[in-house]
């Protein structure tokens, strides 16, 4: 059995070398965990046509330099913002029979609030001295309101949650290409149903 023609190389220190490298990589590793709120900026066009938006289709969120919220001219806590935004988008105030009628809205259908999710625009106005923390918190809540409604609609139409499916596709959990395509089409349908219409006014000078 033991036919020793050539002596074997001593591999005893292999483990030590490997450990050394391992420890180096352990120490230098930062596992990437960058995630964030994605946003598309409006393109710069010289003379934009003035679009007239009805007062009732506009939901104005004002943040002052002390990080206080003024929503539709009323002071509001951050924790109530999400619900208020959902109620506004989901209101569906257009009368039934009119072309703007929203047949899936479950809101109060108050004629004072938005006609349908496609018409509803949320406008955020910041002060220059608003803290970035508050700014992100407000954006987060508003996106959450849209995600809540998109989840609801995708569950009604397709039986799965919009946010979960989007995440699965982003992370590459679904490998079948045809399936990915059909899901992406459905995601687009939900997005068209409830488009994210967030407008950001240029911040006022501080103190005004």
């Amino acid at each position: 059995m033991a036919r020793r023609a050539s002596p074997e190389v001593n591999a005893g220190s292999m483990a030590d070398i490997a450990f050394l490298l391992l420890i180096f990589f352990l120490v230098t590793t930062t596992i990437e965990k960058d995630k964030g709120i994605a946003r598309q900026l409006p393109p710069k066009i010289e003379d934009t046509p003035d679009v007239i938006i009805k007062q009732k289709n506009l939901f104005i969120v004002n943040v002052n330099k002390h990080d206080q919220l003024l929503v539709e001219e009323e002071l509001m806590d951050l924790k109530d913002l999400r619900q208020a935004a959902i109620e506004f988008i989901d209101n569906g105030g257009a009368p039934s029979g009119s072309p703007e009628f929203c047949n899936f809205c479950k809101g109060k259908r108050s004629p004072e609030s938005s006609d349908n999710p496609d018409k509803a625009v949320i406008s955020v106005q910041n002060d220059r001295l608003t803290s970035y923390k508050m700014y992100i918190a407000v954006q987060n809540e508003l996106v959450a309101a849209y995600n809540f409604l998109r989840d609801r609609e995708s569950e009604r139409l397709y039986g799965w949650k919009y946010t979960q499916m989007k995440k699965a596709i982003d992370e590459g959990d679904i490998t079948d290409e045809k399936r990915v395509e059909s899901i992406q089409e459905k995601l687009q349908t939900v997005q068209d149903l409830i488009p994210l219409k967030l407008s950001e006014a240029e911040p006022k000078k501080s103190g005004s």
Binding site: A11, M14, A15, A18, F19, L21, L22, F25, L26, T28, T29, T30, I31, E32, K33, D34, K35, G36, I37, A38, R39, Q40, L41, P42, P43, K44, L78, K79, N126, D127, R128, L129, T130, S131, Y132, K133, Y135, I136, A137, Q139, N140, V143, A144, N147, K166, K167, D170, E171, E202, P203, S206
Partner: protein, 156 residues
């Protein structure tokens, strides 16, 4: 029979460690693959705001802009929030050149799909962020992502 009896010695045999290097190598390769060496040194404070309605960042097509107060060891640069691109502080008016430089380092087929990742300290004023956004609109870099840490601001 006597052949078998011979082998029985009273001592416990040593554990075979021949597969130890294999295990360690496996771990080593795992860490080598997931490691990203930090490419730029942070000069600014980075306590990112919290958010939970997030999307994943596509790292191969993004350029980073950092902003915040000068961090520990860089107090000599003052207390005002500053913008950092790459390894150095940048003025608002210089963002254009710095970003163009960074963009050229990306893979050519992705250069048109650039996403700007904003890593801004939570104590910064929104005004600075607005200035950055105006510059980005001038540059026609319209996709942007505000990097956050997991969590929700309402919880604390």
């Amino acid at each position: 029979m006597s052949k078998f009896k011979k082998k029985k010695s009273g001592e416990i045999p040593a554990v075979n460690t021949a597969s130890l290097p294999d295990i360690v190598f496996m771990l080593l390769f795992f860490f080598m693959v997931v490691t990203v060496l930090r490419d730029s040194q942070l000069l600014v404070q980075q306590k990112l705001p919290k958010g939970d309605q997030v999307e994943k960042l596509k790292k191969d097509r993004s350029v980073f802009i950092y902003a915040g107060k000068p961090g520990a060891g860089y107090e000599k640069f003052g207390k005002e929030a500053k913008i950092q691109i790459g390894d150095k502080f940048t003025d608002v008016s210089n963002i254009k050149f710095a970003l163009e430089e960074l963009r050229r380092k990306l893979r050519p087929e992705l250069q048109d799909k650039v996403m700007v990742a904003l890593k801004v300290d939570e104590e910064t004023n929104t005004g600075l962020v607005t200035d950055i956004k105006q510059e980005l609109r001038d540059l026609n870099l319209l996709k942007l992502i505000y990097i956050t840490t997991p969590g929700n601001q309402l919880e604390n």
